[in-house]
């Protein structure tokens, strides 16, 4: 443990505090100005940037452009024999077709341009209601034109029931926060016991998910068994990386910054090895792909999301019990608290660290599967770990770097924050709120919610 340093010499404490508050206010003001500029400027923009001039050669003359889709009712059943019409800009019908037994329809429109696609409500099977039966699409050559119609009655959440929306966002946020927490606890424990800021932790997450995907899709193993095997492999990977890299580094007394840079190099190499093996596209798990939401009265949720919450809670409870009740768990907390004192009271520190790495690897693998299953719509991609890593850091720092319970709390807050902010800001900026909290917490309370002052300076 590093000794606590007297901070901000040269300032008396109240001055330092006031200064910090002032700086915080300045930052908030700057962010606000930037946001205003961002909103105001597009309106002032005198010159628009040129957009996608189609430099690609147009495909050879075609008789028409195909447009297709699949009709799926809200309960997942496929709708056959439903008429779909395509109307051009003047409202004239240019094409029509009927969906086949697997709900699929396909028609061709004569030229590129804007078309309205409409479902003929008379042809619907009885009892099926349409939520969105008219879709306007710009059909262009060279792209796959898919049209999706939505069925079913208006959802409760859409019917402006504010409390239902709040509850839904909250549950979504807790689910996401728990997934971040499962991976973040390992990251925080590694930091607590060894001092290493492990930038390669995201890759443990990716590798776990990719392994489970391989077993699930290529070997046809049911996803639950595939995940269990991936967890075992994740633990092995964690142990291997400690034994092969980090233990020798500690033995050579390598500095923490050297170790941090090494973990970054490792992360880069591993991420692109995964890319070579896995490819750059999102791939879907074989199981639990098409799930519909079940209504539990106060909340409707898909089975896999519910399972994600239950599994995460159970696992995190298990980790908490491990830390509180077992010998190894107590030893882990002791090492995290004061390494030298732990060593001198007879704890085999290296063995504890090895166990921490195994635990972190296993949790990361499980977190990877749950992250893909619940947040990425049942898919796996090679960069998923890195995008999660930054949120993990946000959560772990928010809670207090090096603490286990703080990490959990921080990750929950970040998860909820991400989902809440997605209600207000564009979806492709969803993770922004989680990352912004990272900067804000460092201004206000750098040791995190549950961290101790001595760690940070």
């Amino acid at each position: 443990m590093r000794p606590a340093r007297p901070e901000e010499s040269g300032f008396t404490r109240p001055v330092a505090c006031r200064l910090r508050a002032l700086l915080g206010a300045v930052i908030v003001a700057l962010i606000a100005i930037a946001a205003l500029l961002g909103l105001a400027v597009p309106a002032l923009a005198t010159q628009q940037p040129p957009h996608g001039t189609s430099s690609q050669p147009a495909p050879p003359e075609q008789p028409g452009l195909p447009v297709s889709g699949t009709l799926r009712n809200v309960d997942g059943t496929l709708l056959a024999g439903v008429r779909v019409q395509a109307l051009d800009a003047s409202g004239r019908q240019v094409a029509a077709t009927t969906s086949n037994t697997s709900g699929r329809w396909e028609l061709t429109v004569p030229t590129e341009g804007e078309y309205t696609f409409r479902i003929d409500r008379q042809s619907l099977p009885p009892g099926v209601t349409v939520l969105q039966g008219e879709v306007v699409r710009d059909v262009a050559p060279g792209t796959l034109s898919l049209v999706v119609f939505r069925f079913g009655a208006q959802r409760a959440g859409l019917q402006t029931s504010a409390s239902a929306t709040v509850l839904r966002v909250l549950v979504d946020g807790i689910r996401f926060g728990l997934v971040i927490g499962i991976t973040g606890v390992g990251l925080s424990l590694i930091f607590g016991t060894t001092g290493l800021t492990n930038f390669a932790h995201g890759e443990l997450v990716t590798i776990g998910a990719v392994l489970a995907w391989t077993l699930n899709v290529a070997f046809g193993l049911q996803l639950i068994w595939a995940t269990l095997l991936a967890i075992v492999a994740g633990a092995a990977l964690g142990a291997a990386s400690d034994l092969a890299i980090w233990r020798p580094m500690r033995r050579r007394r390598a500095g923490l910054i050297a170790q941090l840079v090494i973990s970054i190099g490792l992360a880069l190499a591993l991420r692109y090895l995964v890319l070579i093996y896995f490819g750059g596209r999102s791939e879907s798990f074989a199981d639990y792909t098409n799930q519909v939401e079940r209504n539990y009265g106060f909340i409707s949720i898909t089975d896999k999301d519910l399972a994600t919450i239950v599994i995460s809670l159970a696992v995190l409870l298990g980790v908490a019990l491990l830390l509180q009740r077992t010998r190894i768990g107590k030893a882990m907390r002791a090492v995290a608290d004061n390494r030298d004192l732990a060593a001198s009271s007879g704890i085999n520190v290296e063995r504890v660290v090895l166990f921490v790495w195994m635990l972190a690897g296993a949790l990361a693998a499980l977190g990877g599967v749950l992250f893909g299953l619940s947040e990425l719509g049942g898919t796996v991609q090679y960069e998923m770990g890195f995008s999660l890593l930054l949120l993990m850091f946000a959560g772990v720092i928010l809670g207090g770097l090096g603490t286990a319970y703080g990490a959990l709390l921080g990750c929950l807050v970040v998860g909820v924050l991400v989902q809440v902010s997605a209600q207000v800001i564009p979806v492709d900026l969803k993770y922004l709120g989680g990352l912004a909290v990272l900067i804000v917490i460092l201004v206000i309370r750098p040791q995190g919610l549950l961290g101790s002052r001595a760690r940070i300076g």
Binding site: A45, Q47, P49, I264, L268, Y272, I276, A394, L432
Partner: protein, 332 residues
Amino acid sequence: MIDFASLLANGIAALVGPSAIFFALLAIGLNVHFGYCGLLNFGQIGFALVGGYGMGIGVLNFGLPLWAGVLVGIVAGVVLALLLGIPTLRLRADYLAIVTIAAAEILRLITRSTSMTDFSGGTQGLTGYGGSFRQLSPFDNGRFYDFYGVRFLGQDLWAICVGWAVVSLSLILVFLLVRSPWGRVLKAIREDEDAVRALGKNVFSYKMQALVLGGVFGAVGGIVFALTTQSLTPDFYSPPQTFFAYAALIIGGAGRVFGPVIGSMIFWFVLSITDNFLRQATAGSNPLISFIDNQDVGAIRFVLVGVALAVLMAFRPQGIFGKRSEVLLDAR
């Protein structure tokens, strides 16, 4: 068969090419941060982004002349450094690392967001801001200039000349600064922050100045590169680019004035030759190396850089020319 002449020609072109210039400037900035002051900035690419985009947005959206756009880019780099430094510079080194990498990613996500398309061009990026830069070119922009088999298009040659001029000026500036009392305080902070504080120096202020200076070098790098390529695409500014710059810095030797430039040149020379070799060796119907797919060559570059970064840091953190005692290895 492998065409070694073209390998070498491409390698030499990469040695002095736009990428080497860009990463030399990023690494000069990182050298001020990491090499001299011990600050772990892992978001250097974010400084390049605000530099390039500051210029592009200034010219395109506000109708500024190019020189004013360049100024906007530099000021954007200063502002980013201040924003990142205020919360983190009092904390331990790895906090700055995490915050900078997160900030760079935030900036990339914002510029590529579809909601910002009218402002920053979204995923399409920006073009058409640097026409007046090309008009200044004394070379025939459309012509190829041949130097013993190494060929450059006139417009690139102009950008390369300007780029190396900027690199030289930056090196002179860094050389003068690190020999000054200011530079010695910086090195002292790297070695022992508490001792410097005990001598009555305002460590926070010195760190902030170093962060701003290095950030400005990053922003200038972004500006030069954006003028070279004449286009800004958000996904170019992704986190691995910072790690490339670190690899270049560590190869050349952190804490040495010429380290980042030599490192960047070696880095791109080696990378270009391995890249081209692998492309040639895996192409065709009967490739020399059959176990690597031709499409994967681009990814192998990242794997190699990652492994090189880890191995260098573990076994030779001072790089080729550095002094081991001058490399910051431990967090405080």
